[in-house]
C-alpha cells in the first residue's frame, strides 16, 4: 500500500518560492531576449526574496500560535529559530542581491563570458557587445534555497543535500569575476576542491552516526545517546566529523584556509553574499546539530570545541593584523568572528541561541555593507581608465577626505566589527559573551575579549588610513577613485548602516524576537 507522504506546502512556501524563482531564472535565460534579460532576472530574484521574507514572517506568526512542527516526514523542522535564521538570511540575501545587481559605470562585477579564456579575442568581443552573465541571479537563488533549508534541516541527509545545494552555485559564482579572472578561477577551484573534501568528511560523519543510531534524524540520534551503549566511538567520531564539515563552512581554524583565498578571488558582491549568508546558514545548522545532538556528550566534545574556538579567534585576529589586502583582511576578520560566534555554540545555553542570532545579524549587515563599499573603490591608471577594485590597503589612504560619506559608513561597519558600543556589533558581542559567561565559559570570554582588543588594531588601522593618511599616487600614476553606484549598492549600504546603528542603539525589538526564538523544541 502506498501512502503518499504528507507535504506541508504552506510551511515549505519560502523554500518553494525561491526554488521556483531559480527555475524561472533558468527559463528566463532561455526565453527572454538579451536586452531585457537582466532586468527580468533582477526583478524575479528580488520579488522571490521579498516574497519568501513575507512567507517566513507569516510562518513566524503561525509558529507563534501553533508551536513548532515537523515537515515532510521529519526532514525539516519548522520552529522559531529556523524561521528567524531564514528571515535574517533573506534580509541579508536581499541586500547582497542589490549589490550583485548594481552596475556602477555600466559594468557589473561579473565576466560576460565565464567560459571564455581570459584575455582572448572572444572575451573582448563579448565585453564590447555589452553581454552580461545573467545566470548569476538563478545561481544565487539556488544558493539561497540551499541556505534556507539548512537551518530547518532536521535530519543529516537533508542537511547534506542543503549543504551541496548552497555550495555548488557558490563554487561557480566564485569564478565569475570580471577582472582578475585568473585569480577568480583559482578561487573557484580551491573553493570547490576543499568544499568537496569537507563534504566527504561530513558525509562520513553522517554515515557513522547512522551506524550508531540507525537513523539520520537529529532527534533520533539525540534519543539514542543515552540508550545505545558500546558504540560511543561511532557517535563521537561521527559527531566530530559532521561538526568539522560545518566548521569548514563557517571558516573555523584549522578548516579556514580556503576563506582568505576565496574571499579575495571571488567577485566582491559574491564575497559579501557568501561571507554573510553562508555563515548564517552554517551557524544555524551547527547550532541545531550541537544543541540537539550533543548536549548529552557535553564534556567529550567540549575540549575540541574550546580549542577550535580559541584557535579561530587567535589565528583569525593575528593573521588579519598582517594582511595588506582589503578583502583578505575582511576575510580573516570573518574567521575571527566565527571564533566569537563559536562561544555561543559552546555555551549550550538558551542565551547562546539568541546571542548567535543577534551576532549574525550584526555581522551580516556589516559584512554586506563593507563588501558593497569595497566594490565602489577602484583603481584608476595614469590615463584615467578604471583598472579594478582597490585591493591594497594603502590604496584606501585618504578616502575620508575624498568621499567622507563612504568612509564614514565604512568606518561604521568596521567599528561594528570591532564591537564598539552603540553599533550592532557590540550588541551581538554582548549577547554572545553573556551567553558564554552564563554557560560558565568565562575563560573563553576573557580570551575573546583580548582577541577583540587585538582585532581592533586592524579595524582601526583602516580607519586611520582613510581619515588620517594623505592619499598616495602609485608610481605608475595610478590612483584610487570612487565610482558612483547605480543606486542599488547605495541603498544596500544605507540600509546596512541604518541597521547597524539601530541594532546598536535600540536593540530591544531584535533582542526580544531573538529571545522568543531561543528555544529549540523537538
Amino acid at each position: 500500500m502506498f501512502v503518499a507522504p504528507h507535504i506541508e506546502w504552506a510551511a515549505l512556501s519560502p523554500v518553494l518560492i525561491l526554488l521556483g524563482a531559480a527555475v524561472i531564472g533558468v527559463l528566463v535565460e532561455a526565453f527572454v531576449p538579451r536586452g531585457s534579460r537582466r532586468l527580468v532576472q533582477v526583478v524575479v530574484a528580488a520579488l522571490a526574496l521579498g516574497g519568501a521574507l513575507v512567507a517566513v514572517t507569516w510562518r513566524w506568526t503561525v509558529v507563534q500560535q501553533d508551536g513548532p512542527s515537523s515537515l515532510v516526514a521529519g526532514a525539516l523542522r519548522e520552529d522559531a529559530p529556523a524561521l528567524l535564521f531564514q528571515a535574517i538570511l533573506l534580509i541579508l540575501a536581499l541586500l547582497a542581491l542589490l549589490v550583485i545587481a548594481d552596475r556602477a559605470r555600466g559594468e557589473d562585477a561579473f565576466t560576460p563570458t565565464a567560459s571564455a579564456i581570459p584575455g582572448s579575442e572572444y572575451e573582448g568581443q563579448a565585453r564590447r557587445a555589452g553581454l552580461a552573465q545573467t545566470e548569476v541571479f538563478p545561481l544565487t537563488m539556488f544558493a539561497v534555497t540551499g541556505m534556507l533549508v539548512f537551518p530547518a534541516a532536521a535530519d543529516l541527509l537533508t542537511m547534506f543535500i542543503a549543504l551541496e545545494v548552497l555550495s555548488l552555485p557558490l563554487y561557480l559564482l566564485a569564478g565569475m569575476a570580471r577582472r582578475r579572472r585568473l585569480v577568480s578561477q583559482e578561487a573557484s577551484l580551491k573553493y570547490f576542491l576543499l568544499g568537496a573534501f569537507s563534504s566527504a568528511f561530513f558525509l562520513m560523519g553522517l554515515a557513522l552516526l547512522y551506524g550508531y543510531a540507525g537513523s539520520v534524524h537529529l532527534a533520533d540520534i539525540a534519543t539514542a545517546v543515552p540508550l545505545v551503549s558500546g558504540m560511543d566511538g561511532l557517535l563521537l567520531a561521527g559527531s566530530a566529523l559532521v561538526i568539522i564539515g560545518l566548521l569548514f563552512k563557517v571558516g573555523a581554524v584549522p578548516f579556514h584556509s580556503w576563506t582568505p583565498d576565496v574571499y579575495q578571488g571571488a567577485p566582491t558582491p559574491i564575497t559579501g553574499f557568501m561571507a554573510a549568508c553562508t555563515k548564517v546558514a552554517a551557524f544555524a545548522a551547527l547550532l541545531r546539530f550541537v544543541y540537539v545532538v550533543t548536549p548529552g556528550l557535553g564534556w567529550d566534545l567540549a575540549p575540541f570545541l574550546w580549542i577550535v574556538a580559541i584557535l579561530t579567534m587567535v589565528v583569525g585576529t593575528v593573521l588579519a593584523i598582517v594582511q595588506t589586502d582589503m578583502k583578505r583582511t575582511l576575510a580573516y576578520s570573518s574567521v575571527a568572528h566565527a571564533g566569537f560566534l563559536l562561544l555561543g555554540i559552546i555555551a549550550l545555553d538558551e542565551r547562546g541561541i539568541s546571542g548567535i542570532l543577534v551576532y549574525l545579524l550584526a555581522y551580516g549587515l556589516a559584512t554586506v555593507g563593507a563588501f558593497a563599499l569595497v566594490t565602489l573603490v577602484r583603481t584608476k591608471d595614469a590615463e584615467g581608465n578604471l583598472v579594478g577594485e582597490a585591493g591594497h590597503l594603502s590604496e584606501w589612504a585618504g578616502l575620508g577626505r575624498r568621499s567622507p560619506v563612504l568612509a564614514v559608513c565604512f568606518a561604521l561597519f568596521l567599528l561594528s566589527f570591532a564591537g564598539i558600543p552603540l553599533t550592532a556589533g557590540f550588541t551581538g558581542k554582548f549577547a554572545v559573551f553573556g551567553a558564554a559567561v552564563a554557560g560558565g565559559d568565562w575563560p573563553l570570554v576573557v580570551i575573546a575579549v583580548l582577541a577583540s582588543a587585538a582585532a581592533a588594531f586592524f579595524y582601526v588601522r583602516i580607519i586611520v588610513l582613510m581619515f588620517f593618511t594623505e592619499p598616495a599616487t602609485g608610481e605608475d600614476g595610478s590612483a584610487t577613485t570612487v565610482v558612483r553606484s547605480e543606486g542599488l549598492t547605495a541603498v544596500a549600504v544605507v540600509v546596512c548602516a541604518v541597521g547597524t546603528v539601530l541594532v546598536g542603539v535600540v536593540p530591544t525589538a531584535v533582542l526580544a524576537v531573538a529571545a522568543q526564538a531561543s528555544k529549540f523544541l523537538l
Partner: protein, 99 residues
C-alpha cells in the same frame, strides 16, 4: 564475515581518497580522490543499513551518488575552464592567492 571488515575497507578507501587529494597534483585526480571518499562513505552507509536492517542507508547512498554527479559537473566545468586558461590542470600552478 564481520561488519568490521566492511568498515575497515571503507576506512581504507576513505584514506586512499584523502591521500589522493593530498598528494596528487592533477586537479582531476585529486577530484577523483574526493569521489572515492564519498563512495567510501556510501559503503559505510550501506553496511550500516544492512546492520540495522533498514533501508535508509541505502537510500542515502543513492542521494549521495546524485550529489556526486552534480559535483562532478560543476567540478569539471571549473577545472576545464582553468585548464583552458592556463593549459594545465596542475593544482600547484594555481597559487596566485596566498598569504
Amino acid at each position: 564475515m564481520s561488519i568490521l571488515n566492511y568498515l575497515v575497507l571503507s576506512g581504507i578507501l576513505f584514506a586512499i581518497g584523502g591521500t589522493a587529494v593530498l598528494v596528487r597534483r592533477n586537479a582531476i585526480v585529486a577530484f577523483m580522490g574526493v569521489e572515492l571518499m564519498l563512495n567510501a562513505a556510501n559503503l559505510t552507509l550501506v553496511t550500516f543499513a544492512r546492520m540495522h536492517g533498514d533501508l535508509t542507508g541505502q537510500v542515502i547512498a543513492f542521494f549521495v551518488m546524485v550529489v556526486a554527479a552534480a559535483e562532478v559537473v560543476i567540478g569539471l566545468a571549473i577545472i576545464v575552464s582553468i585548464f583552458r586558461t592556463r593549459g594545465s590542470a596542475s593544482l600547484d600552478d594555481a597559487s596566485l592567492l596566498k598569504s
